[in-house]
């Protein structure tokens, strides 16, 4: 299950998907909107995305994880549009026979998402807004 959506993400959907009789461990990661960033008071985040390619990259991440670790199933759902404080922008769930693989694959997925999946985050803060990653001309991680 690899998808982007404009709706709130339901963790239970992902857990139902990754549930597996052969799994002894499920690791999940939930990225949420935090009320502050680099000293700014954040009001909300607003995600833009290139849905077809984003889902393709998410599937690629899942396939890579399957080759690297003995996992059962992986699910990643990323939200687009405005995401309020405490709401989830991305949820990853990974089931595996043992916890080492579940943790490693879950961590891998979130790091990859932040490198290559074409989804962009606009931070709406008190006094302005900014596309994260664009404001400082910092180098883009990964391929360039």
């Amino acid at each position: 299950m690899f998808r982007v959506t404009n709706d709130p993400i339901d963790l239970q959907d992902l857990l139902d998907y990754v549930g597996d009789p052969a799994a002894g461990a499920i690791a999940t990661f939930i990225g949420t909107t935090r009320n502050n960033n680099e000293g700014r008071k954040v009001i909300a985040l607003d995600y833009d995305g290139y849905p077809e390619m984003a889902e393709k990259e998410l599937r690629r991440i899942g396939a890579d994880a399957q080759t690297k670790w003995p996992i059962c199933k992986m699910a990643i759902v990323h939200r687009l549009g405005p995401v309020q404080i405490t709401e989830a922008s991305v949820i990853i769930a990974v089931s595996a026979g043992h916890r080492d693989a579940a943790f490693a694959a879950c961590r891998f997925a979130i790091e990859e998402i932040k490198k290559t999946v074409p989804i962009w985050k606009k931070e709406v803060y008190e006094g302005g807004e900014v596309w994260i990653g664009t404001q400082t001309g910092q180098p883009l991680p990964g391929r360039s």
Binding site: N37, Y47, D48, G49, Y50, E52, M53, K56, I113, K114, K115, T116, V117, P118, I119, W120, K121, K122, W131, I132, G133, T134, T136, G137, Q138, P139, L140, P141, G142, R143, S144
Partner: protein, 82 residues
């Protein structure tokens, strides 16, 4: 030949459009297309921005040669953060 260009995030805001069709000459690369676009839309020249190039939903190198009907996206830095 014609290609379709989609704009996202800061580039969509700069160019004021989500999508456009561009006429390009045979043998043009994605880097050529980007240069041509920057000429027509000077605001696209965001200081210090580092882009990736995607054609038909795959990342490609700047010297990737375009074909008729390709879908091209210039990918600004993705969401990042920690």
């Amino acid at each position: 030949m014609k290609v379709r260009v989609k704009f996202f995030a800061i580039l969509r805001e700069k160019v004021g459009a989500a999508e456009m069709t561009r006429e390009i000459s045979e043998g043009s690369t994605v880097a050529d297309l980007w240069q041509a676009l920057q000429k027509d839309y000077p605001k696209l020249d965001v200081p210090g921005i580092r882009l990736l190039y995607a054609v038909n939903q795959n990342y490609v190198k700047p010297d990737h040669a375009l074909k008729d009907q390709d879908e091209v996206v210039f990918v600004p830095p993705v969401s990042g953060g920690n």
